[in-house]
Symmetry: C2
Subunit: 428 residues, 2 copies
């Protein structure tokens, strides 16, 4: 008997058949003696359809209204899932983000959770019901307005509820069997990872592995929530993402404890590169620029500052950021050009980021050599580099990214014996 | 400068073009110096699409989940309308039923309003914003669950807000130019009515005139809210539905005050006839039967009890009710058969109801004669009859209903000079 939070993405509930399949899995889980909370995304393409409608009525929809609009998507999927569970003879109730106590700040479109008060969820569970909760949405504390959490929001809802309700595990259902050593769509020989530490998963997510969103992994790590990433199309064990290495031995008891240095290769096409050209090379200018970009609610990823090459006391500052934030960042920078005193801004969306993740990378000097050698042998030019304790990331041109991923994956002997199973679609 | 509540049905906001057209009208209304609250239904067929999805996952969806599902429809239309208004340079905010303070009982699918606390609407209006409110939905006082108001719910939302906010007028936008002397789709020569008293409109609505729902007219009459029924496709004056005859002369000042005895002919195909056969003819049995039917949350319309003809102290009781409530009423009656002691139940959906409405009908004995003469000349058999101060209704077979409507309309010389303008679609 356990307490399980299950999260199903949009591809799992894309149509009535998908909803009924998810309902059967939820009912099975409850029938095995578990208490179950289900977090669900909007159905398949329904978010895109709503975005398309919004674009038809407005060039620049207000963020508050966009959140109101998009939050309708989960309302539909969660009500249908509750109906389908009830039709199987179990008892389910659906709850909006606000009813589930997901309290956020008021940054529409990318709200952050500031409190979780799932009283109604707890009551429903204690009554023996399955509680279905809308992913991706909440209510702002100050204005009582509907907010959405942005990309990865449904995963984050699930982990936040699991933490608040002290669930034993948060199961993230997706369209692949777990976390792979590289995206199986790019590297068919990629191997499924059985267990990975939260920290390594954090680096994978930060590096663009799309299977789990960075925020969700951060939240799980901070609150010690074990994640189980698995397929909604099969009953195979997936990948366990565990808060600390100690927990791994406890849970995987009896299994060979294999801890490879290298966990996997992640890649990301969702970022753009901004270069601010001719910045006066005086103290405080970098801070000023990043303050301006942060003011546009943009998350900066990699940063490179070149040495002064203009001979005129000027330097270039390059950084990457999500493509979706590009326009806002450029507008904010443009407005401040005179004040900052830079010469120009260069913007490039045709980039790709590749990262190698593994514990103990720093203490293995051979790793960097092998990494850059593989890229060089594959003819891939490197544009930016950044590293951490357990990660090396590089930016390349977008068209060489797949080649680079396969080259690095092979160089670290990550290729498995069998081809990975990939199912269709992708969630929110 | 006035305070106007405008209600737009699903056919007015069926697509992006419709939403933009409504936005322009709302902005025009505000630009002429008015404060504007807009109540909006779900887009076109979207409710039917949601019902279809529900049917695919469950044979008997729970009412609570159905309300959660259906309430997503207005959330989409209202957010899009707010975006479209904002895109025109005005400022709009959308509000769910719960945010607008529409507090209801907990009868899902046909909740009744028990309180209206539109604090947020008032604040938005005072700030100069247009407030867009989801029609058809509210929140139950005891459980804080999402409820829907059932058929005519959006009109009722609009009138309830107009009453609570003390608006000068509640404009109901629809796909015809106003209230006609008969449904222009059945009687092309029907004439538009310029003004009609709330009481007559009440009888028209109760008799099946679909342009305004009974509940909305009842609410408007009780709280003295003037209604203006008009087309969202034109700028013609529509029909004013006024709380008392005194108000008519005030508002229609300068116009010829024409007050015909007969207002119009209404018809209704949405009811079924139930006959409970062989009911013991002892006191209290009729009350018992109607108690059982009321327990199934069914609104009974016409009732006829025949005299005992069985010679065995038994009688038949017939009544009409909405077809959508038929199954629930039959189930409740079936369960109680032994207790009530009736012999059988007969159920017929192939009926139509025709009503003639007009002030002073009782004091004009010639009216009934002319009415029944017209039906008889047209070869229409009458199945049930009921009358009020200002209405005569009959039930006929469904296939003769159109013939009957045209015959009565002609007999009372209601035909106008020009054919009525009818636009496509119909609202919620």
């Amino acid at each position: 008997m356990g307490f399980i939070v299950q999260k199903f993405g949009g591809s799992s509930v894309a149509d009535a058949e998908g909803i009924k399949r998810v309902a059967r899995r939820v009912v099975d889980t409850q029938a095995r003696g578990n208490q179950v909370v289900v977090v669900v995304s909007a159905m398949g393409d329904s978010t895109d359809e709503l975005l398309d409608l919004a674009a038809q009525v407005s060039n620049a929809p207000h963020a508050r209204e966009m959140d109101m609009l998009l939050s309708a998507g989960e309302r539909i999927s969660m009500a249908l899932l509750a109906m389908a569970i009830n039709a199987l003879g179990a008892s389910a109730q659906s709850f909006t983000g606000s009813q589930a106590g997901m309290i956020t700040d008021a940054i529409h479109g990318k709200a952050r959770i500031i409190d979780v008060s799932p009283h109604r969820i707890r009551t429903a569970i204690e009554k023996g019901d399955v509680a279905i909760v809308a992913g991706f949405q909440g209510m702002s504390r100050d204005s009582n307005d509907i907010t959405t959490l942005g990309r990865g929001g449904s995963d984050t809802t699930a982990v936040a509820l699991a933490a608040a309700l002290k669930a034993d595990v948060c199961e993230i259902y997706t369209d692949v069997d777990g976390v792979y050593t590289a995206d199986p769509r790019v590297v068919p020989s990629a191997r499924k990872i059985d267990t990975i530490s939260s920290q390594e998963m954090l680096e994978m997510a930060a590096s663009g592995a799309k299977i789990l969103h960075l925020r969700c992994v951060e939240y799980a790590r901070r609150f010690g929530v074990p994640l189980h990433v698995r397929s909604s199309f099969s009953h195979h064990e997936g990948t366990w993402v565990l808060p600390s290495p100690d927990d791994q031995t406890t849970i995987q008891e009896g299994e060979p404890l294999e801890q490879p240095i290298i966990s996997g290769v992640a890649h990301d096409r969702s970022e753009a590169k901004v270069t601010v050209v001719g910045v006066p090379d005086i103290p405080g200018k970098a801070a000023e620029i990043f303050g301006i970009v942060a003011g546009a609610h943009t998350n900066i990823d990699m940063i490179v500052q070149n040495v002064s090459t203009h001979g005129s006391g000027r330097t270039d500052i390059s950084f990457t950021l999500p493509i979706v934030d590009g326009a806002a960042a450029l507008a904010a920078l443009g407005e401040a050009q005179a004040r900052v005193g830079y010469e120009a801004v260069d913007y490039n969306e045709k980039i790709g980021k590749l990262s190698l993740i593994g514990a103990g990378m720093r203490s293995n000097p051979g790793v960097s050599y092998r990494f850059f050698r593989a890229l060089s042998d594959a003819g891939v030019n490197i544009d930016m580099i950044s590293t951490s304790e357990i990660r090396i990331s590089v930016v390349t041109s977008a068209d060489l990214l797949d080649t680079a991923v396969r080259a690095v994956h092979a160089a670290f002997e990550l290729d498995g014996d069998a081809a990975a199973t990939v199912y269709a679609g992708s969630g929110r």
